[in-house]
């Protein structure tokens, strides 16, 4: 029997690692990730989880220990936030380059200076280009399901890449919600034992990740790009398969809400999508044809789905909980890039909101929508990027 529990997303991430039968966890504490690894420490000490928990001395070592354990033939898990993720940066490249299926929960937190412990996506989006698959969750159930799905995806021989499962600090990490935990037997059926592309083996001695000349390097990079393309095909399939078995789906690459007939589509990531749905319902009551699309997977970026989404809409409004300084929000950039070669592309207005944990309410999103509709009717975007609720 599946079990319903009420717990925080951080604890749920720990439950997911246990359910995935992770064998090595290497982690270093950082707010707001701490309760993920505390939960796992409890599981390991009580014997509920048959795993090694390496209490490393830094996040850099956490990631390296996961890489090496994955190379030595076991399923690995870690979790971090913000500066911890930034400290891992070098090792993140090494994990992807080594094609090892490490899965990590990233409890999103804003980057300093100045110090902030509250959420935005500046930590994980700064790791956009290092070959990690990036999922963004909207609720605690999705955190559990996505960790399980991520292992299934990453250990597929067409992929063999690492993945981060991102969840916003406090908004999810410390908020209690009901979550359905399927029976272990069913999870085992869905997620077979650990598989990876190569292994450190005394019977087949090889040097791994040694020096590669310009004669070979590009091919290795191309294979990562191919793996990302494969992941794009597999993610919706795995989500559907999971849904079939456990009765919960999360929209594959993009979760759409009332987009079919929408003139304006609000595009967000993470929990903001939930407020966007409330805003959409309210706007619909006013007779305004607005929809909401939540980008669930940022890498690989769902270019084709985005094209399809944009086909009927006259306007897109992105709400980014992040800013690429000197440019704009990442969602805005990625969507513009995705649509550039299409003839009848919609207008796109970019909004920056919720940095460093500032609340983004459904009322604020409604305002964004109305502003966008005005521009849509005028047939012209007034400002490429607008900062929402900024002090004068």
């Amino acid at each position: 029997m599946a079990q319903m529990i009420i717990d925080t997303a951080n604890h749920i991430a720990g439950y997911a690692a246990k359910a995935a039968r992770v064998k090595v966890v290497a982690a270093y504490p950082i707010t707001p990730q701490t309760t993920v690894v505390e939960k796992i420490a409890d599981f390991v000490e009580s014997g509920e989880m048959d795993a090694e928990y390496i209490r490393v001395e830094s996040e850099h070592s956490a990631m390296v220990a996961c890489i090496a354990a994955a190379a030595a033939g076991v399923r690995t898990f870690t979790a971090t936030s913000a500066h911890g993720l930034a400290l891992m940066h070098e090792a993140l490249h090494w994990a992807a380059g080594s094609r090892l299926p490490v899965v990590m929960a990233v409890v999103n937190r804003a980057m300093g200076a100045p110090w902030s412990i509250w959420p935005d996506f500046s930590d994980s989006l700064s790791q956009r280009d290092n070959g990690w698959i990036q999922f963004y969750c909207a609720d605690n159930q999705e955190v559990f399901d996505t960790v399980i799905q991520a292992y299934k995806l990453c250990e597929d021989e067409r992929v063999f890449l690492p993945a981060m499962v991102c969840l916003e600090g406090f908004i999810l990490s410390h908020t209690y919600m009901p979550v359905k935990i399927p029976e272990q037997k069913e999870i085992d059926e869905f997620l077979p034992p650990y598989k990876c592309g190569w292994i450190l083996d005394v019977n087949h001695p090889l040097s791994h990740a040694n020096l590669v000349s310009p004669d070979w390097y590009m091919e290795f990079r191309y294979m990562i790009q191919e793996a990302m393309e494969n992941a794009k095909q597999l993610i919706p399939k795995i989500d559907k398969e999971y849904g079939k078995q456990f009765g919960i789906e999360h929209g594959g690459l993009i979760e759409k809400y009332k987009c079919d007939d929408a003139d304006l589509i609000l595009v967000t990531m993470g929990t903001m999508a939930s407020d966007a749905k409330i805003a959409v319902d309210s706007l619909r009551k006013e007779g305004l044809k607005v929809g909401s699309a939540r980008v669930r997977v940022f890498r690989p970026f769902p270019v084709e789905e985005m094209m399809k989404l944009a086909e009927k809409a006259q306007m897109l409004a992105t709400i980014d909980r992040h800013i690429s300084f000197g440019m704009e929000g990442f969602l805005a950039s990625e969507i513009k890039a995705s649509l550039f070669n299409r003839k009848d592309r919609p207008l796109l207005a970019g909004f920056i909101a919720g940095l460093g944990g500032r609340d983004v309410t459904s009322e604020a999103i409604k305002k964004i929508a109305k502003k966008s509709l005005k521009q849509m009717h005028a047939g012209k975007v007034e400002k490429e990027t607008e900062w929402v609720d900024l002090r004068e």
């Binding site: 090595v24 830094s58 890489i67 190379a71 030595a72 076991v74």
Partner: protein, 308 residues
């Protein structure tokens, strides 16, 4: 005690490796394999061995080898040890093999952490006293007075005493070695394999390219380092300090060759003044006074540290 004749004939450092002529570290790798065989997993960070093993799709090392980030040897070893324990394959020895920069500078944090966690592995620092792979820049292990490309007029600070830093972690086994004394090194490796916990072996490995001496004098240079007392062969087993042969005969200063004999063979010490040399000699003598006391107090030391 093993003899050279009794060593296995199998070679796991293969012909055609890419080390410089006269490379001290490559002799040490060969001895490592003679001592431990091929049921090992080796972790190698950015260092000369990155080059020695040869570029993809070749390798000159016939054991599984994980190349890893510069500062991360001990962290990677921790991950492998944990995975092998889960897979019930603890008969495989995990060996971290890193240069002096990767150990005493950028890798010291991960190494300290792994030692404090009592990770069951052997860590070997092969010390050529500078960042050799990148063209001889100064490291924390570069000795006083030595020329490097970033200390063109000679380093003004002393070498970091890494074996004692590791001993302060109360790990069960710390030893020094030198490839010029192969049996000593091999016996230490074999002893280390049979001890549970973190084992640290610091190997002084002469480097003709960086130290500026003729490539045929590597073994001689290593011997002189030991005979002058500049590099002492010792082990600290469960806190108990013990000088090994031939260093155990050098407590008496009269038995030690003057350090000048070692220094004058190397171009990197060309700029040393007589004053520098006598200063270094004085430091060496002070070190030996320290070793003498440690050797005589080793029983009480062992009681202090306790067996792990």
């Amino acid at each position: 005690m093993v003899t050279i004749k009794e060593l296995p004939r199998e070679e796991y450092l293969l012909k055609g490796h890419a080390a410089c002529a006269g490379c001290g570290p490559s002799i040490a790798i060969r001895l490592l394999f003679k001592a431990l065989g091929n049921k090992i997993i080796m972790v190698v960070p950015a260092c000369c061995t990155t080059v020695i093993q040869g570029p993809y799709p070749y390798t000159s090392v016939a054991v599984p080898l994980q190349n890893i980030l510069f500062e991360s040897t001990a962290a990677a070893a921790s991950g492998i040890v944990a995975a092998l324990r889960q897979r019930k394959m603890e008969d495989i020895t995990v060996v971290g093999w890193a240069g002096d920069g990767g150990t005493v500078d950028i890798g010291i944090q991960a190494l300290s952490g792994a030692a404090e966690r009592e990770t069951n592995f052997i860590y070997i620092c092969y010390d050529n006293e500078a960042y050799g792979n990148t063209g001889m820049q100064r490291s924390g292990a570069t000795p006083y007075g030595a020329w490097t490309t970033t200390t063109p007029s000679g380093k003004r600070e002393r070498k970091k005493d890494m074996p004692f830093i590791m001993a302060a972690h109360r790990i069960p086994y710390v030893a020094t070695a030198c490839p010029s004394y192969p049996i000593d090194f091999i016996e230490k490796l074999r002893k280390a394999r049979n001890i549970k916990g973190t084992k640290y072996i610091h190997v002084l490995a002469p480097c003709p390219t960086g130290w500026r001496y003729d490539a045929n004098r590597t073994v001689e240079l290593g011997r002189l380092a030991v005979q002058t007392g500049l590099w002492a062969l010792y082990e600290i087993e469960y806190g108990q300090f013990k000088l090994n042969s031939p260093s155990d005969r050098l407590v008496d200063k009269a038995k030690r060759k003057p350090i000048k004999e070692y220094l004058q063979l190397q171009g990197r010490f060309r700029n040393l003044t007589e004053e520098d040399i006598s200063r270094i000699q004085q430091w060496v003598d002070e070190d030996w006074e320290h070793y003498r006391k440690l050797a005589s107090n080793s029983m009480s030391d062992a009681a202090l540290h306790g067996k792990i």
